[in-house]
Amino acid sequence: MASEIKQGTLELVNHLPILQVITPMLIAPILVVLNNKTLSWLLSFVGALACLFISILLIQAVSDGSILTYYLGGWVPPIGIEYRIDAVSAILLFLISIISAIVLIFSYSSLHAEIPEEKHTLFYSCFLLCLTGLLGVVATADIFNVFVFLEISSLSTYVLVAQGAFLDRRALSASFNYLIMGTIGATFFVIGIGYIYMATGSLNMMDIAERVNQFGDNRTIQAGFAFIVVGMGLKLAMVPLHVWLPNAYTFAPTVVTCFLAATATKVALYVLIRFVFSVFNYEDIFVNELFFLLLMPLAVIAMIAASVIAIFKQNLKKLLAYSSLAQIGYMLLGLSLMSQKGLASSLVHMVNHGFTKAALFMSLGAFMLNTKNVYIKSLSGLGKSMPFTSAAFVIGGLSLIGVPGTAGFISKWLLLEAALETGYWLVAILIIASSLFAVIYVWKIIEVLYFSESSESYNEVSVLTLMPIWILALFCIFLGINTSLTVDVAIMATEILFK
């Protein structure tokens, strides 16, 4: 069936690209059939672990700079659909799989506090579909297939966000908002694909890349690119297309927020990177101008404005959501510098911020299991009664600020270096200003945790809840000390993209 560059045999490694995507997709309907909440948790977790295992195998396979391809159904591209894994996609696949596995451990104890038990099965199968979509977007090399997987993940995300309604009805309007905005984004994206297909007659990324070069200054392709940028801008919550994000993150169940904050926006950014570097010509004047004149200012505005807004938020989930907007600004900024260092910083920050934000949202979730809400006042004195959760929160917070020794520092260092390298002094200073704002909003929470008297005393959450939180927190430190997984792979990835 399968054929690929390394000559099709039935060796496992040749089938990894498709297995990565299809594993959660096949499990999802089984859950619905079995309709047992413990079993569905177990199966989803096993599925996520399998994905993680596959993604690690994939990283090993591509870490020497090689590229794995897989032709779906044996149809050779450009007719058939091609899956294509290189260092860039492998790093994202790893991030998505590991976060989903960790989040699922957490959901075992936290979900029953947020969602009625009869809904659990459906929740998990939606979760797996969302996972499938995200993995598929990253794995595929067919632009229409990107759209399909993007919609699979988005549609299941709307459902997942709406599950917050059992705690707070506002989740419904947040989800609806997200649905409208997300659909507009998807529409823009598919129109963009339409334009490209119109001009080139192909949907395969590599194929288009070859043909685009022959066109030169072609209006149709430029329009297509602009549509794709706007569409992805909506999905990745680029300011000013971000309005869906704060509410969706705030009112979704904690599990969903953790997962989305760590993966969904990053995948949209990945699509943008793919299109800029693998589909279009990154040296093209139009592409460059679009990034320098439009995306860079927007990224800087996001970085500063969202951080300032975060300072004044009392609902901590919302505070972190705004901080996410600012961090997305960092990633977009790294990309829009259009240099190898900049792109590397962007990729590294995707991973680092994924772990950092997941750790923060998850420890907030653990607080919420006790306090039932996440307003800053209700956390007072928890540092004493929930020492382990609080300590993990502090680690995550330090990583968000970018204190040396944590993951956040590495990405900030790379980004600053990239900004200096391209001569954007003002941008470098603004990056630093933004991290100073981060100090303010993180410290606001830490102070409440440790230095105000609590009116009620709570028990520390169970070990099973603490474990995923601490795995994430330790990752925040580990990635700040050992960067072979992030920086080395990212540099390899940029070399592939900037060929």
């Binding site: 970018g402 600053l416 470098a428 200073i429 410290w443 960067t483």
Partner: protein
């Protein structure tokens, strides 16, 4: 023992002691004994490093974070002096802290001693850092670890002070220092400390001035005007914290970093040729006089000492800005002698507080008669700070004056002299009032007596060392010359 192992042990022992503090939470006596032992062992290790130092500037790499950015350590005279100073004074401060924390009935002892020990670990890390990145790492850890110490009391006032403390220290280090570090890394490609500097003319004259500014202000712990506000704010901390951390460890980590960056990143020679620090000389002079003048207006003893510290720290920044060997020598001596002088003053302030609960100078009339040892120690410490013989502080001033003459900046001499006069004006009245004026409330004063020996003995010891160092300062000078840190013409 291989030297890299010793470095590791000096950094690791205090951290381990911190952990033990938490374990022995319920047994205060065991806990405090363990910490004392830990302090002694740490001092022993740094003494061993000093003895086995042969002048080789080898880098000991611990881990590589990114290509070109390592966590690495090296040994050089400034670091040895600083580590000996901090670990030695830790022993005395710990004894004092036991007496103080129990005497003043502070709460949460284990938490306090945990953070205290860990902050010493990061100070040790700072003293042996082999490159700017490692230094920055430990510098930031020190800031974060000392925050719970400053806010220890948990009152609104303590929290407000701690917030100022954290925001200025983190703000300057992330906002300015980090930018300077990345700029250097970006231009030179290395961050290692190398004698004579690593810049090698890759910065133009204007850029060099900017870079000096990024470090002079970015090292917020040096408390240079206008980033000095955190020091008085941090005085809400219990006195042992002020004594060790805000007279020795934290502030000295700041000026130590300034000197180290001056010698090993900029290079003294190239700084003096370029003249990039001329403006800093003026600012340091202003900081010296300005802080002294404010100190005179403060009635709260600890606040007065805090402003005095700001003024004295500016001496080291001044030494850096003079950019010659004599200046480096004067700066290093200032670090040592001021540490002994100021820790004495702070501990005396603490013992007055423990014995009488008084914090304002105007209420301390006549106390000298009932607490003679404390007040005599205070007097000795004060004379050392002022810089009068026969106290060791006079040597620091001596070399600074020589250095400013060599740099051909005569006005600095004048500033130093005025500053000494101002020091007299704000430090000695307390002693005079204590001994010569009649107490406001006779009966109440009669009931006061010296607090326990744990509290009055440490300042007496540091005061005596202040005095003894006057005669042995030549050793420090020779040590620095022999290992090539400074080269004097003669």
């Amino acid at each position: 023992m291989p030297i890299e192992f010793l470095i590791f042990l000096t950094v690791f022992t205090p951290a381990l002691v911190g952990g033990l503090n938490l374990i022995f939470n319920k047994k205060p006596n065991v806990r405090d004994t363990v910490t004392l032992l830990g302090a002694l062992i740490t001092f022993y290790f740094s003494l061993n490093i000093f003895l086995s130092f042969d002048g080789q500037a080898t880098q000991y790499k611990l881990a590589t974070i990114m290509p070109g950015i390592d966590i690495s350590f090296h040994i050089e005279p400034l670091g040895i002096i600083f580590s000996l100073l901090a670990s030695g004074l830790w022993i005395l401060t710990h004894i004092y802290a036991i007496g103080y924390m129990r005497g003043a009935k502070e709460k949460n002892h284990s938490r306090f001693f945990f953070f205290f020990s860990v902050s010493i670990a990061s100070v040790m890390g700072i003293s042996f850092s082999g490159n700017l990145f490692t230094l920055f790492l430990f510098y930031e850890i020190l800031t974060l670890i000392t925050f719970p110490l400053v806010s220890h009391k948990g009152s609104t006032e303590a929290l407000r002070g701690a917030r100022v403390y954290l925001s200025i220290l983190l703000g300057t280090s992330i906002g300015l220092q980090l930018l300077g570090i990345i700029w250097i890394y970006f231009s030179v490609g290395t961050l290692d400390f190398v004698k004579g500097g690593i810049l090698n003319g890759s910065f133009g004259s204007l850029e060099l001035i900017l870079l000096v500014g990024l470090f002079a202000f970015g090292i917020g712990k040096a408390a240079l005007f206008p980033f000095h506000r955190w020091l008085p704010a941090a005085m809400v901390a219990p006195t042992p914290v002020s004594a060790l951390l805000h007279a020795v460890a934290v502030v000295k980590a700041g000026v130590f970093t300034v000197l180290k960056v001056g010698v090993y990143i900029f290079g003294v020679e190239s700084l003096s040729v370029s003249g990039a620090t001329d403006w800093l000389t003026w600012l340091a002079c202003f900081s010296i006089l300005f802080a002294s003048l404010i100190a005179m207006t403060k009635d709260n003893l600890k606040a007065r000492l805090a402003y005095s510290t700001i003024s004295q720290l500016a001496y080291v920044v001044l030494a850096f800005s003079l950019a010659n060997s004599l200046g480096v020598l004067g700066g290093a001596l200032q670090i040592v002698t001021h540490a002994f002088g100021k820790i004495t003053l702070f501990m005396c302030a603490g013992s007055i507080y423990v014995a009488t609960k008084k914090t304002n100078i105007s209420n301390m009339q006549g106390l000298g008669r009932v607490m003679p040892i404390t007040f005599l120690s205070f007097l000795i410490g004060a004379i050392s700070i002022i810089g009068l013989p026969p106290m060791s502080g006079s040597w620091a001033k001596w070399f600074l004056i020589l250095s400013s003459l060599e740099a051909d900046k005569q006005f600095v001499v004048l500033v130093l002299l005025i500053s000494s006069l101002l020091n007299i004006a704000y430090l000695l009245p307390l002693v005079a009032k204590g001994f010569y004026l009649n107490p406001i409330d006779q009966t109440e004063t009669k009931s006061f007596k010296e607090p326990s020996a744990l509290v009055w003995l440490p300042p007496a010891i540091t005061a005596s060392i202040s005095f003894l160092l006057f005669f042995y300062v030549g050793y420090i000078r020779d040590f620095m010359i022999n290992f090539g840190l400074v080269s004097l013409g003669n």
